[in-house]
């Protein structure tokens, strides 16, 4: 009797502990957001968006780094999307099971686990130095494109796999070629899942700082990049720069920049989650 009573007590206690654990991370994050809202919200005004970086914290803004981030995201998308989707289609629809496709699989899951800074070293040597791109936008975008490629491939493959085989059968049976079937049935059917993956990949690209620092993105860029061959900074690097300055004013700037960066990445993730739940419901 007492024994079973004690077991029930442990059971209840763990259930409470489970809820506490579940929310501890989220609570800490929310608390943190609260604090930076308090610190940084007052700093956000129109001038903050339109000002160039500056030695004086109260004059500095995120204009150039925002434009840099936008450039980087768009270029990364253009470079990684066709490559990632091609690879995914090949692996799901064409590759015969065997040693080679096994190697491809293992390789992709390994790439997904390579630390982002290693991609930075790769980009530094290949894009910045060997290809002579230096620290320009293109070198950064190439580097991030390789970094997010595994994310896009994995998401696209999952989405393709979720397209019912019966739809493909129907298309083939009507005389469609393999590519017609992929283009007209498989990809449209997988588009929701691919979208989700792409948004998540881009949100990753928006938040990356380390590999871009290695390939030579600058912390201080007093001009707006106008072409892919220009030098640039991105929002996370700007924030990093502000964090490492001793004056208190820059810490406020960092908080304000973080609010913007968080708003962007969290919004992208919310959209992705929404998309995913919608297309999951549809396919059920």
């Amino acid at each position: 009797m007492t024994n079973s009573g004690r077991n029930r007590l442990i059971d209840r206690a763990f259930s409470v502990w489970g809820v506490v654990s579940t929310f501890i991370g989220i609570a800490l994050l929310l608390m943190f957001i609260g604090i930076i809202l308090y610190d940084g919200l007052g700093r956000i005004n129109w001038a903050f968006f339109t000002s160039l970086p500056s030695r004086f914290p109260e004059k500095a803004g995120i204009y150039t780094s925002m434009v840099g981030t936008l450039w980087i995201v768009v270029l990364t998308l253009i470079l990684s999307l066709p490559l990632g989707i091609s690879a995914a289609i090949y692996l799901e629809e064409y590759a015969k099971k065997g040693r080679f496709s096994n190697i491809l699989e293992i390789n992709i899951s390994n790439l997904a686990g390579v630390p982002s800074i290693i991609y930075g070293l790769l980009g530094l040597q290949i894009f910045s130095r060997t290809m002579g791109l230096g620290g320009n936008l293109l070198a950064g975008a190439f580097t991030l494109a390789l970094l997010v490629l595994p994310i896009i491939i994995v998401a696209t493959r999952e989405a393709i796999r979720a397209v019912p085989g019966s739809i493909k059968d129907a298309s083939y049976a009507l005389g469609a070629t393999k590519w017609q079937t992929i283009w007209l049935q498989v990809l449209p059917g997988a588009s929701g899942g691919i979208m989700t993956g792409v948004i998540l990949a881009l949100s990753r690209a928006v938040g990356e700082a380390a590999p871009l620092i290695v390939v030579g993105a600058l912390a201080y860029v007093p001009f707006v990049p106008a072409s892919p061959m220009d030098q640039y900074s991105v929002l996370p690097i700007q924030i990093f720069n502000w964090i490492s300055r001793p004056q208190a004013g820059f810490s406020t700037n960092a908080a304000a920049g973080i609010l913007i960066l968080l708003a962007i990445t969290l919004a992208m993730n919310l959209v992705a989650v929404y998309y995913r739940s919608r297309y999951q419901r549809k396919s059920n």
Binding site: I167, A170, S171, Y172, A173, G175, T177
Partner: protein, 265 residues
Amino acid sequence: MTETKQHGETVQTESRSAIEIRNLSTYYGDFRALDDINLTVDPMTVTALIGPSGCGKSTLIRVLNRMNDYIDGFRVEGQVLVDGQDIYDKKVNVEQLRKRVGMVFQKPNPFPKSIFENVAYGLKIQGIKEKSFIEERVVKSLQQVVLWDEVKDNLKKNAFGLSGGQQQRLCIARTLAVEPSIVLMDEPTSALDPISTAKIEELVFELKSQYTFVIVTHNMQQAARISDKTAFFYMGNLIEVGDTQQIFTNPGVKRTEYYIRGQFG
């Protein structure tokens, strides 16, 4: 030596059958799914393929329009002639073959598109752009499957809104729209209610004058009702083939009889 001889035979073949299967064996990797099958199908007839699950009847029907091509490790030996042409010959264009040999599947599988787009799909992928032609063909196909009156005001609506039986008739219309000469049906009514089933059977009976049908079915009564010929498969072997009436009333092989009776009981 033998190969040249066999090749010579292929060229000379003048067959009046719609389908002629010669010494066909198929493999999934090392597993032999069909063992030395010989079978002819006459034009404008309905042939039913029956047998217990895993007997190879579904494999066989998918061989007839090469739907198994994309399965890793699937292999074919022997010959399958459609209108006298060996469909596993290297020169054969698979897509052209599938236009001649259409297929309807177990579960209705409309595309997630409008009713109109479903039927027009086969024409559009052939590169046909002429609108009036496509419309004409869509209407005709939907009329052929007696679906036209039910959907004529909703052609733009998603095909998923139709009932199961309507969806299956839509799939048949979609198949007919590319004007095949042979229509393969892989248990076309197994997912449908009795009334929808009856409608599909009626359809097959009506359309028999224009198309050659090969139907895989689990339903003995269905085979008896609609087919001219019945072929009984067991463990990858063709046990017996003959006129449906003869197979059902006076089977030549004991195993056929057991199967048919077992299903009745």
